[in-house]
């Protein structure tokens, strides 16, 4: 395999990992605060749709991004009302949200654009352009640095760089700030937070709104940067892969980056070699597609250290039965 192939795979990995990264960090905020979020998929999808539609109508990718975030936050809030305010089952609420997004995007898209559940293609400013990093051209041909900085990292949408930035940011917020301390505490023992004079409800809502914003960006990236428009079911299970990555990462930000890069790379490899010939065996495309899930199951089986979720995760905070 030549260097150009490597470069292409890593470039592709970075692009494909970005929506996973946003969704995974979204899940991280939410689950660290004790709210399970299997609705990541739905939020990605609904954000992808609304950002593409608004970007198409206004011709501005940024307005599209705002709309995507807005839609995703609304879905987060629905989840919040169900699981925080009404103390419903978070898993069921997540399942419902995924269906709601799947149905809603198609029905609304059909009603707005009459194109069978897709938006018209986005052109020009309705789409996020690729950025050239400073000095990237100059460094393009320098060995190693050139390949990494000038080729792999260069020429991505601004959202990719923002996603990468979100990783240290998340880490810092979680472990270095008051908000982070409280957020982690509320996912472990909400009663402790409550009796310390902090509102569990407000804290958890804050967490899911952050999750909504992040998912919104991820969805917008899908339809306005990675692709040029929305198509039905375009999240294609990425929300679930993000969930798998979150477990794989054991709910930690830097590990999350590692996990989504791994899963992104699997996708990139599957795109490049639909049937990966390893000499001894040929791995079919479908195997690569399933690999993130298989790996996560392996993690869950405890073969590679135990993944312990936040202790209060999934349980509504109930004081009075």
């Amino acid at each position: 395999m030549d260097i150009a192939t490597f470069v292409q795979i890593f470039e592709s990995t970075l692009r494909l990992a970005t929506p996973l990264l946003f969704a995974c960090l979204a899940g991280l905020f939410s689950e660290r605060a004790g709210i399970f979020d299997i609705g990541l998929e739905g939020k990605l999808l609904v954000a992808a749709f609304f950002s593409a539609s608004i970007a198409y109508v206004t011709g501005s990718a940024w307005l599209g991004l705002a709309a995507g975030i807005g839609a995703s936050v609304v879905f987060s809030l629905i989840h919040g009302v169900a699981s925080i305010t009404f103390r419903g089952n978070q898993l069921i609420s997540g399942v419902a949200i995924n269906f709601l997004a799947a149905g809603m995007t198609v029905v609304v898209a059909q009603s707005w654009f009459q194109q069978g559940g897709r938006t018209p293609p986005l052109v020009g400013d309705a789409r996020f352009d690729r950025l050239s990093l400073p000095f990237a051209n100059a460094l393009h041909d320098v060995p190693v640095v050139g390949q990494i900085y000038g080729q792999i990292l260069n020429q991505h949408s601004i959202l990719v760089y923002f996603g990468l930035l979100c990783v240290p940011l998340t880490w810092w917020v979680l472990y270095r700030t008051r908000f982070g301390l409280r957020l982690r505490a509320v996912g472990e023992n909400p009663a402790a937070v409550d009796t310390a004079g902090i509102s569990v409800v407000r804290l958890r809502y804050a967490a899911i709104v952050i999750a909504g914003v992040l998912c919104g960006i991820g969805g917008a990236y899908l339809s306005t940067a990675l692709a040029a428009g929305f198509v039905k079911d375009m999240s294609a299970g990425r929300g679930y892969i993000a969930l798998a990555a979150l477990i794989f990462a054991k709910w930690r930000p830097w590990h999350a980056l590692g996990a989504v890069l791994l899963f992104g790379m699997l996708e990139a490899i599957a795109n490049r070699w639909p049937n990966l010939d390893l000499g001894i065996i040929t791995l079919p495309n479908q195997f690569m597609t399933a690999l993130p899930y298989i790996l996560t199951v392996v993690i869950l089986a405890g073969f590679v250290g135990k993944a312990i979720p936040p202790r209060a995760g999934g349980e509504p905070y109930v004081k009075e039965r």
Binding site: I78, F86, G88, N98, G103, V108, Q110, Y293, I294
Partner: protein
């Protein structure tokens, strides 16, 4: 002491939730510029207005009875099996293998074999998540989601590379022998002189599914195993105190659940297109969740919601043909039903509880 009588909890709460879900769906239809009343009319005539419609409605109902039952049994043991989709897919594989590679002399032998095979395959697919829950404590929701995707990939591979006849471009198996055609309602009701459309795919599996409901009821409320499953579902600690093995209950409940989800494929493969196609499950595994939630996980209680979703499914297809409302509208309705009966039921229950409390205080 309970604040609310049982009938209110079992009937009133889901019913009110359902009404809210439908009201919101009507709003969505209005919002996209269509007439909800006409939509409802179309759905009713399309699904219940002719024996042709009934033939499809009951066909879907059969699917949902089986997946709903699967979710319910697991729910009774407090296990949230959202892997019905994957288990049914793999169940379909069992059906296809049995039907393609064994020359059956008649349909009923084949059907019994297919039920056994699909149940076995479905149970197998539930076994690993169950085992992981029982031994490693990994959340069954997460593992069953993973297994749904793994199943989809596996079926995708098998159908496009292994089971596809060389002459076909479809990722689907060959058609089964005509001998294996399950008797449809047209044939069955014809015996008692009722005229029924020959087109609708509803078939003998409807009665099998109903029989399974009764059997599940007996299992849960008349056998030791059922007693243990319910006890475990109510309180794991208490079950441990009573010497009920959590490992056994988790495994057995999930195996039964997976087996039931698997048998759904007998209907949708042998009873429907008579070959295994991609995505033969069509989301029935997930609809089973809504059905179980509405039926309060009671094997008899799920019959009405299964019929409701059968109606929605068939009505939705008609809607898509007759109006410009996409068939995805029923996905929205399904989402709202799951949301309101499953996650937001406190929204309905709490005011009701207050109401009943006030009524009782006054009395």
């Amino acid at each position: 002491m309970k604040t609310m009588p049982k009938w209110a909890d079992v009937l009133l709460v889901p019913l009110i939730s359902l009404v809210i879900a439908f009201a919101l769906s009507a709003l969505v239809i209005l919002a996209i510029g269509e007439d909800p009343v006409r939509a409802m009319e179309l759905m009713v005539t399309g699904s219940l207005g002719s024996t042709y419609g009934w033939g499809y409605t009951l066909y879907y109902t059969t699917n949902f009875l089986l997946t709903g039952l699967a979710v319910s049994i697991a729910f009774q043991a407090k296990l949230f099996n959202i892997g019905g989709e994957g288990q049914a897919m793999i169940g379909g594989l069992g059906v296809a293998l049995v039907c393609l590679f064994i020359p059956w002399p008649n349909w009923w032998l084949a059907m019994i074999a297919a039920i056994l095979a699909s149940a076995l395959f479905g149970a197998m697919w539930a076994a690993i998540p169950a085992w992981l829950q029982a031994k490693a404590g990994s959340h069954i929701v997460i593992t069953t989601i993973m297994f749904n995707f793994i199943a989809a990939s596996l079926m995708n591979y098998l159908l496009s590379h292994v089971l596809r006849p060389t002459t076909s471009m479809d990722p689907a198996t060959a058609r089964f022998d005509n001998v294996l055609r399950l008797p449809r309602l047209h044939d069955i009701l014809g015996l008692v002189g009722i005229d029924f459309s020959r087109s609708g795919p509803a078939n003998i599996m409807l009665f099998v599914a109903l029989a399974f409901c009764v059997l599940a009821y007996v299992l849960l409320w008349r056998t030791r195993l059922g007693f243990e499953i319910r006890a475990f579902g109510q309180s794991e600690a208490a079950a441990h105190y009573a010497g009920i093995s959590s490992f056994k209950i988790i495994m057995v409940a999930m195996l039964i659940s997976g087996a039931l989800a698997g048998t759904m494929a007998v209907n949708s493969v042998m009873g429907g297109p008579q070959r295994l196609v991609m995505n033969a499950v069509e989301g029935a595994g997930f609809i089973g969740i809504a059905v179980a939630l509405m039926g309060r996980s009671h094997p008899i209680g799920i019959i009405a919601p299964a019929l409701l979703f059968g109606f929605l499914f068939q009505g939705g297809s008609e809607l898509a043909i007759e109006t410009s409302i996409p068939r995805d509208m029923i996905v929205i309705i399904q989402a709202l039903v799951i949301m309101f009966t499953g996650a937001l039921d406190n929204m309905v229950r709490r005011p009701l509880e207050l109401l009943f409390l006030a009524l009782r205080r006054r009395a």
